[in-house]
Subunit: 396 residues, 2 copies
């Protein structure tokens, strides 16, 4: 870790986090890197990437797996999350005997640039002004996030990653990795994702952003200086988004029209239905762990993602000559990143004769399936990694 | 019109409407009725129903068509809307040569109880206190709305309606009419609707309500007294809801990833994409014409709708022995009220050997299709009304 550079300063604390959170994040692995020229034209002289690793890099440096996290996730895939005190978001994915096993792989997961779990983002102090960036932080793209991750991978002394994988936004990063650094990605597993964000998904994100920015406690993004947080707006944003992560079937099965702690309708505007209580809980708990400005930046990065754009509008061109082995996974009830989006990617890969397999998994759990204990997803991933590992010469 | 009773007072003006709006609404047809015992147990001694009619009731009083409006619509189906100055929401549905032709039918459309276009709702003054109801207005149900409409139909001297029709929430009213007053409904055309509001739809409504109630300008519903309006919260609610009215295909076709008035991404949080500008416009224009508290009440009524509940949980029982002829219409790309919901109603009607036809119309326009100029919907409706008219002995 390069500690010679003066470190970019994070202000998680001033944005509402407790001293304990600040300490917890400061104690986590991170590295200071730079410079990085962003797609918007701005150059970050220095930036911090917070990350976690599990397992050991082998002598050949051929067993590194990079996990790219989704919109509101972070580097804490496994083990206890230092902020929430809960298990990591990928407890069933990463661990001994799990599909991504630290006994076999050197596993890396990094908080994305623009995030709020230790990597440089709007919560940081702008070194030019000594003030918080807030909305003066440059808008970053998925490609910027990937470039920052590549610098981390350089720092770790790894030339070629055995596998890059991730779901949802994480899948966008996987695709961008394969397009930008084909020789550095031996295999890629983009899950429940798309090569470009759809109009409907941009629309849902914009509703969330508008909810945040409509909250007077947002103060044009300068809430830290006002000692406030746009908690209500962020909770509404989360509630709206959360619906899109589930399927109608899952909601009906889990909640239906069941009432919450009552025998009859309340004839009021409290939460009568369990599904309402559940949403309230989702909103409240999200506000505890996530920063509103970071939510604006990361949703924007997803909206801006259109992989084909830099390749003359033809997605296949992004993968021309790719040596990477791909395995795509989608879920039947995912209406946020429906199977058709994965199929478009498979078609583009086929058009350039790439090595690609594709599995659509039957699930009624909606987009969220990619975060859940889905045996068929794990079987698919494990099987693919075994085959790719043989091809890579990894010891079984 | 019963002008002997002192009229319940509306306060559309204090809730943000202009004097011109107040005058316009005051000049519209309305009637004062009562008492009405509501499902919540409260009795409204007097209530006002604002309505419009077109055409003439025939001597046999057998040609009356009642149109039930959707969540944010009103009695102004055709002609100029006195508040917005725009054509009515059903210009292509109602009019000479249209499927519901005033030369043939006596057409009635009434603002629902709890609404904000002249019928009694949270904008009214509570006669017991002389203050605005706001959130002390009783929570009304779809059944309450139908009972109020039935009193209007009584007032108009009509025993049996030739047809009751409506889409979305309007379709819920149609179903409730047929269940509550089978002998008064000769034919019924519920469009793009459901016999109960789904968990997903309740969830979306709750997001909208939370957005309104999170707006500090809402003031616990007492915004009129504070001279404010929860415009930002209501706009966010509308934006979220609006996405659910469209299909992903329609959004992709209309907007895709097209940029708004710019050649390149703006790397900021203004509306880069056309779909964002469109949503902003939807939010802004809705706030001009609709009241936030009324939105709370009407969404709640929809959430509470579960027709089978009063019939031991068996939908078919609601229609046992029904003499009504039904025609159900759904749209293939409607994911808010998907075809499966209409099919459940058809199955229930079949189970009691009711006279029912059902047409699922191919459309990529989503739920909104029921409000649009959909030739196949109009052909279906016209054909059904012609057949029912013959059975009813209406002159061609």
């Amino acid at each position: 870790m390069d500690t010679a550079l003066s470190e970019p300063q994070s202000s998680v604390a001033t944005a509402g986090a407790t001293a304990a959170v600040r300490q917890a994040l400061a104690a986590c692995e991170h590295v200071v890197l730079g410079p990085l020229k962003l797609d918007c034209g701005v150059t970050l002289d220095r930036y911090r990437v917070a990350y976690r690793t599990w397992g050991k890099l082998n002598a050949e440096k051929s067993n590194a797996v990079l996990i790219c996290h989704a919109l509101t996730m972070d580097q804490f895939v496994a083990g206890m999350h230092p902020v929430t005190g809960k298990p990591g978001w990928g407890e069933t994915l990463v661990g001994p005997g799990r599909p991504i096993d630290p006994e076999r792989y050197f596993i890396i997961c990094a908080n994305v640039l623009g995030g709020c779990m230790g990597s440089t983002g709007p919560l940081d102090i702008d070194p030019r002004t000594g003030e918080l960036y807030n909305l003066s932080f440059p808008v970053v793209t998925i490609r910027d996030m990937v470039r920052a991750q590549a610098a981390l991978v350089d720092h770790l002394g790894i030339e070629t990653l055995f596998c890059v994988t991730g779901g949802s936004m994480g899948g966008m990063l996987v695709l961008q990795w394969a397009a930008l650094y084909p020789e550095r990605v031996f295999s890629a597993v983009p899950i429940a994702t798309a090569a470009r964000h759809s109009a409907q998904n941009i629309a849902f994100h914009e509703v969330g952003r508008q909810a945040i920015m409509a909250d007077p406690d947002w103060h044009g993004g300068n809430y830290a200086a006002h000692g406030t947080r746009p908690a209500r707006g962020l909770a509404v944003a989360r509630m709206a988004a959360h619906i899109t992560y589930l399927s109608e079937t899952a909601l009906q099965r889990k909640f239906g029209r069941q009432l919450q702690n009552r025998d009859a309708l309340g004839f009021g505007f409290d939460a009568d239905f369990q599904v309402e209580s559940y949403l309230h809980h989702q909103g409240r708990s999200f506000v505890e762990r996530f920063d509103a400005n970071a939510y604006l930046y990361i949703t924007r990065a997803m909206d801006y993602f259109d992989l084909a754009e830099a390749y003359g509008g033809t997605l296949a061109t992004a993968f021309r000559g790719t040596p990477t082995r791909f395995c795509l996974i989608s879920f039947t009830s995912d209406w946020l990143f429906p199977t058709a989006e994965s199929r478009d990617i498979v078609r583009a890969l086929n058009a350039v004769a790439a090595n690609v397999s594709f599995v659509e998994i039957e699930s009624d759990k909606g987009h969220d399936a990619f975060l859940l204990d889905e045996p068929e997803m794990f079987r698919t991933l494990s099987g693919f990694l075994r085959g790719a590992g043989n091809a890579r010469g990894l010891r079984p």
